[in-house]
Chain length 346, copies 2
Amino acid sequence: MIATEKPTKMITYESAGVNIEAGEEVVRRIKPLVRKTFNPNVLTDIGGFGGLYDARFPGMKQPVLVSSTDGVGTKIKVAIDAGKFDSVGHDLVNHCTNDILVCGAKPIFFLDYFASGKLHVEHGVSVVEGFVSGCLENNCALIGGETAEMPGIYAGDDFDLAGTIIGVVERDAIVSRENVREGDVLIGLRSNGLHTNGYSLARKALVEVLGVGAKPKELNGETIGEALLKVHRSYLAPVLSLFEKFSPREDIHSLSHITGGGIVGNTSRVLSAGLGLDIDWNSWKRPAIFDLIQKVGNVPEESMRKALNLGIGLIIIADASKATDMIDHLHASGEEPVLMGKVVKR
Amino acid sequence: MIATEKPTKMITYESAGVNIEAGEEVVRRIKPLVRKTFNPNVLTDIGGFGGLYDARFPGMKQPVLVSSTDGVGTKIKVAIDAGKFDSVGHDLVNHCTNDILVCGAKPIFFLDYFASGKLHVEHGVSVVEGFVSGCLENNCALIGGETAEMPGIYAGDDFDLAGTIIGVVERDAIVSRENVREGDVLIGLRSNGLHTNGYSLARKALVEVLGVGAKPKELNGETIGEALLKVHRSYLAPVLSLFEKFSPREDIHSLSHITGGGIVGNTSRVLSAGLGLDIDWNSWKRPAIFDLIQKVGNVPEESMRKALNLGIGLIIIADASKATDMIDHLHASGEEPVLMGKVVKR
């Protein structure tokens, strides 16, 4: 039988491409960073099989867990091209935070997945530093994670990330679509760039033409890599501040996080049946990076709107009678809100 | 400025490699499958920004959430080679279930991440079918997920998966290492193969030599691909059955899920300081696939023990006085438990 007659040269765990020492070194170096995100609700230490979190939620009557999993899409390829490993983890925590925030939930903990072909200690530590920054910004504990070494799947310095966030909301404070009605206004909060969507388009239209290091005059001294790698904004602070002053049901009828699918795709998902959007596309100025993508790649406006947030990262669908108060409140929190349209009958 | 002088041919969202229709088709087809995993605690429907789960846990005094994130490592490469996409998702749910089960927790919900270079509808649906099978087996809801299309990261039919499980345990039923003492016995529950660890070694030592389609006589008619792709066992049923009859503190002193690092690596993590393991490596017969890997790849025993579970997937560290009762109980549940060693002073 062939299987036994001709043994190959000796194969060990290490010669098969798995570097246990690198994995242990990453864990050693990230431990003190990760511990900075802990709070008294975290009942565990790093390195156990599972992350433990106290689920009593004192003061809440009907706590509801809200969870979301995501990746950063091909923004990761821009990070790899630019040799910048410390921001994509932060992007991912902020992205996930916004995804549960639009249900009304505050994040409590996060878990990360980081996979590469060959574990490079410095890259691994940088990636986790990004997760830690994101968790500190959004006040959630980095309670677990997995670092996978997968030779044969990821080439060169390529890697991928996934993250899962868990948050909690009082059941009667869940923001849902059921209160949206004709005449509600759309108040947009500004993005600082592409956030984490549309990078396949941006790479094809811009990066493959000019490269990440180019400094086109439209970007005022920034490179394309810098403009594309700006960290996805978290809207936790301005939205929580709104929740303190306005009712998440009567005043705030719905919230929309602008990700893949763009402004219309994402906001249509949070309308009741029979309603549509009337958007004034000229009511805000798009950040320069969007015009550059459109110009260099000769991208039709329809694709721009489908793939990109175009400068608006989160939309509040508000009762029209509260619009002025809400906009004033957002200005006072340092935002530059945009009254960008309204809900109409379809 | 170069950026504006020479527009390239028109780039659209679709020509950049993102196929929105394929993504929508996958969602349409998986919806009825995913819904089968729901229960009255799931307060959401598929397609919202976040998955909602009732966190009141009636009857529990101090509920603690236990969570874990993982991937299936390079087992995914074997699945790709064999063109089999429906089992790795099931592997992942079972793996995550075991990871929180060893803390004493029962799974409540799961979220998946599935990334490929170009979304192939049939592959995507198969992968989610695997997640659904795993969630049904472990009685947890598939509450969220992300399907990412990442041209430039994943080549050909390559893809990657990550999954996150959330479970719950009563605080005073958490299984922890603090009760382990000298003289405790190790009771092993059998694995059905490599589960999800050691595939870089197995591929190098076996797959690259013989191929996934080979049928070496040692495997009794099975192909190498079939033997390597057996679904990671979930130990939820036998361990919950133990919890009903034996105290998760006084009788069951610790539990160890045998993943990367092998029997010694994983079980050492759940011992108190100053204690070690005395394992009788001849107390069970290894499944044929392990002997084949060792023989064909000429793999030293030390690497075998570090990388592979060698036929034992979960270890119960039990009070010696309860060992016989526990083994009898496990036999009655259909297990073939192995009394494989004991805890010693180091």
